[in-house]
């Protein structure tokens, strides 16, 4: 008997219209846990680097986390993994809500989708009964609207639906997959659309068993109150009406400038009133007591759900007020557009127009108001009409397609992907490493365990460290010594980057929300889940014996496997850099040293390629063999060098 997981994946071939239920290897759970980890292994075996993202052979995988469907509170983030046409690299996204647990109760750990349907279809998974159904009547429908229509036609109000909007249907690179109160961004909706898959509906009524019920319940039950009471977890910022931190520190327009002094008490009152007039309620994801999502009803727009920093992204990119943001989200959520990258693409379009690179010929009837321009461009993009066809490929590609100097306006992407609109003064060592080497495409999916800044008061600092259960010992020492306006050392920076990213790889395998763990240690230092209590939850749920060292090892394994995917697709050291103007003051010499040290620590060679020794030690021998065969590693590089073995610690 398998605990916590079902032991079966659902294999869908949309080209042939076939459906298969396939037993999985329990050994892979021990090696990778689940979620993104096991997805990466399936992709390694079946999607060689020659496969183009738009090829029918590219896989789109929906993964439950290992702890989905168990009583562990806050385990509900579904992972979506594929290869992205925007970056030609590994594309990983997550969405909360209810989909993953429902899929598990239907009897599946993953949905592995290959091929392409000839017409628009949707998938209906009702326990053992799985159908590929015609979705012609849903063409062009909004993403949440599609969910409601499908539930109605199936007469199954308990079904959970994940769907794309018009953006996904038209293969817009910023397309999301929308489900209930959550969205999967970062370039996965485009592949769902490419496969002509409008939606997946799931209903499951089977039991999920856990290995040590009494022990698991004993540690789960107190978590509800503990998470509820914990002021440092959940979406802390979204619950605050004081937006000073965001509007002052993030850049407006196309990630251009900070507007210090924009915020004042009057503005706060105004914006609070706006939010309160459109918010229906706060909502949660499956089995989690934090209410991180606002249900919004803006006049004239359908109900939608707003989460995270998308509350401000459109307003700030358009130099507008908050009501504009709520208004346009009512349109973009239904189209299924990513609230992070899309505003930047729109602001980029406006900049090109103002610079004369785009003209009235490209933008007939272009309005003068920046808000109206946003609405105008959104409709062009989701239909790929006119200039919208280029802009739909994101800033990096659009800039090169448009040419005429447009490339100069692409200043905030790295690895061809839009980044958060942050423009800061002085280079930050750990952040340099996270931006440069992160495989999850955005800083929010890499940062999060080590505090962003030191605490000035020594007493407070000591107090903080005393209660810092989540941190491995070495970080406590470093944090105690960290004085304001000083950089962490190279060694510390490497470790900080390593710890931060590892926690995300753990979350993304077990399905726990980053707002309860990997993202939430950096403010307050008290994430409900961390390296030292997660092994208990996982062990009691699955029956696998796991301690924090073993958990860390799995995080490393998944990190290296995904790294290997990207290396196999051509990623090298020269690609690993932050957006060029992210910091005004850079330090090229130090950056080289940092990257050298990080690679060495990771057991990667000087070009950022995991060495044979590193791979073999993690049980990824098949990866090192592939690297040797392809000439990515040569025999001499495959040999462990003395410095590498000395520099590589497990934690």
């Amino acid at each position: 008997m398998r605990y916590a997981e079902t032991g079966f994946n659902l294999e869908i071939d949309l080209s042939r219209g076939s459906v298969e239920r396939v037993a999985t290897d329990p050994r892979l759970t021990e090696l990778h846990l689940g979620g993104q980890g096991t997805a990466a292994k399936i992709q390694w075996d079946r999607v060689p680097p020659e496969v183009e993202p738009f090829s029918p052979d590219n896989l789109l995988i929906f993964s439950t986390g290992l702890l989905h469907g168990t009583p562990v509170p806050g385990a509900n983030r579904t992972a979506v993994d594929t290869f992205s046409p925007q970056t030609n690299l590994y594309s990983h996204s997550l969405f909360g809500g209810f989909f993953g647990p429902e899929l598990k109760h239907a009897g599946y750990d993953k949905i592995v989708i290959r091929g392409k349907a000839s017409e628009l279809v949707y998938l209906w998974i009702n326990n053992d009964k799985v159908e590929i159904r015609d979705a012609g009547h849903l063409q062009g429908k909004g993403a949440l609207e599609t969910g409601a229509l499908i539930k109605e036609e199936l007469k199954e109000s308990d079904a959970q639906v994940a769907a794309i909007g018009l953006a996904g249907e038209n293969r817009v690179y910023m397309a999301t997959i929308e489900h209930a109160n959550s969205s999967a961004s970062r370039g996965v909706g485009v592949i769902m659309g490419d496969k002509r898959l409008k939606a997946i509906a799931v209903r499951g009524t089977k039991d999920i068993h856990v290995a040590r019920p009494a022990e698991l319940f004993e540690i789960c039950n107190p978590m509800y109150q503990a998470i509820y009471d914990n002021p440092y977890c959940g979406d802390v910022f979204l619950h605050e009406d004081d937006e000073e931190w965001h509007v002052n520190n993030f850049a407006w327009g196309n990630a251009r400038e900070r507007q210090k002094g924009f915020w004042n008490k009057e503005k706060e009152k105004q914006w609070t009133d706006i939010t309160e007039s459109v918010r229906l309620r706060w909502t949660a994801c499956y089995n989690c007591p934090k209410d991180c999502h606002q249900a919004i009803k803006y006049p004239g727009r359908p109900t939608y759900f707003q989460k995270c920093y998308s509350k401000l992204t459109y307003a700030m990119a358009a130099y507008k007020e908050l009501d504009f943001n709520y208004d346009i989200l009512g349109v973009t959520q239904e189209h299924g557009l990513d609230g992070y990258s899309t505003p930047q693409v729109l602001a980029f379009g406006i900049e090109l127009y103002e610079a004369g690179i785009l003209t009235d010929k490209d933008l007939p009837g272009f309005p003068s108001d920046s808000g109206e321009r946003f609405f105008y461009l959104v409709e062009k993009i989701v239909r790929r009409e006119g200039i919208g066809d280029a802009l739909a490929n994101g800033v990096y590609h659009a800039a090169r397609q448009i040419g005429k100097g447009a490339e100069k306006f692409d200043h905030n992407s790295t690895k061809k992907f839009e980044q958060l609109p942050l423009k800061l003064k002085m280079i930050n060592y750990p952040y340099f490493l996270m931006y440069a080497t992160g495989a999850k495409m955005t800083i929010t999916q890499t940062e999060g365990s080590y505090p962003q800044s030191p605490i000035a008061d020594k007493k407070e600092r000591e107090e903080f460290v005393k209660n810092w259960d989540a941190a491995p010992e070495r970080f406590k020492k470093w944090f105690l010594e960290w004085e304001p306006r000083t950089h962490p050392s190279i060694e510390e920076s490497v470790h900080i980057c390593d710890w931060n990213e590892t926690m995300h790889y753990i979350d993304d395998a077990i399905g726990t929300c980053a707002f309860l763990s990997s993202f939430r240690g950096q403010f307050g230092g008290r994430p409900p889940y961390h390296l030292y209590n997660l092994p208990n939850f996982i062990s009691h749920a699955t029956g696998m014996d796991l301690d924090s060292d073993a958990l860390w090892e799995i995080g490393r394994r998944n990190r290296n496997l995904i790294r290997a995917h990207n290396v196999r697709r051509g990623l090298r050291r020269s690609d690993e850099k932050p957006p060029e103007d992210h910091w005004k003051i850079r330090d090229p010499e130090m950056e080289t040293k940092l990257l050298d040290a990080y690679y060495e620590f990771k057991g990667w060679n000087n070009d950022g390629i995991p060495t044979k020794e590193t791979l073999d030690e993690l049980g990824l021998d098949y990866v090192s063999e592939d690297f040797l065969e392809r000439g990515i590693l040569t025999d001499s590089e495959g040999q462990p060098s003395k410095e590498i073995s000395a520099g590589k610690e497990k934690k």
Partner: protein, 183 residues
């Protein structure tokens, strides 16, 4: 005790629809508590409390499983409260043929909330324990008006027979049985 009447303790779960965030932790906890062995599995479809969700209409209604009825009712209503429309059956906890709610997914047998009766008793039913938002609140109140003497199993059985076959037939059968014993 007044006038020879006992007071009885009525256990209730008060529901505040405005406080529900739709997380369905109540369903998870209920299904785990009632699994055998206890907590060994979860399955919201087996839960005796369900959050009826219609998120685009901002409807979140936690309802508990009540009695079983073999027939659908005739008077179904739509409710409009504070400008929001609630569908028929929204507030009804009955396990009935009109819907799948509150039936074991495998057998179709009806489910009923038992307020998590346990030995030793829980401080509060499980669904309430996992609802820190207080959408669900457990209350006990005393009610005047004599607690009923617990009826014996035989009496309940006889009453069921009488309901099915008619009192006269049951009495006749009893008489025959007692005659044959005497012989």
């Amino acid at each position: 005790m007044t006038d020879g009447l006992k007071k009885k303790i009525v256990k209730e779960i008060k529901v505040d629809l405005d406080k529900c965030i739709g997380c369905r932790a109540c369903e998870v906890a209920c299904s785990a508590f009632h699994a055998r062995p206890k907590y060994s599995s979860t399955n919201p479809a087996r839960s005796r409390i369900r959050v009826v969700v219609d998120d685009l209409n901002d409807v979140y209604v936690p309802i508990r499983a009540g009695d079983y009825t073999p027939a659908e009712c005739t008077g179904r209503h739509t409710y409009t409260i504070n400008g929001k429309e609630y569908r028929e059956c929204s507030f009804c906890g009955v396990s009935c043929p009109a819907r799948d709610l509150f039936k074991e997914p495998d057998s179709g047998l009806p489910l009923k909330c038992d307020m998590c009766e346990d030995d030793p008793p829980l401080s509060e039913p499980m669904c309430v324990q996992v609802c820190p938002h207080d959408a669900l609140v457990y209350i006990e109140r005393e009610e005047e008006g004599g607690e009923e003497e617990p009826r014996e199993e035989m009496e309940i059985g006889l009453e069921a027979l009488a309901k099915k076959h008619g009192m006269q037939k049951v009495m006749d059968a009893l008489a025959r049985m007692s005659m044959s014993k005497k012989r």
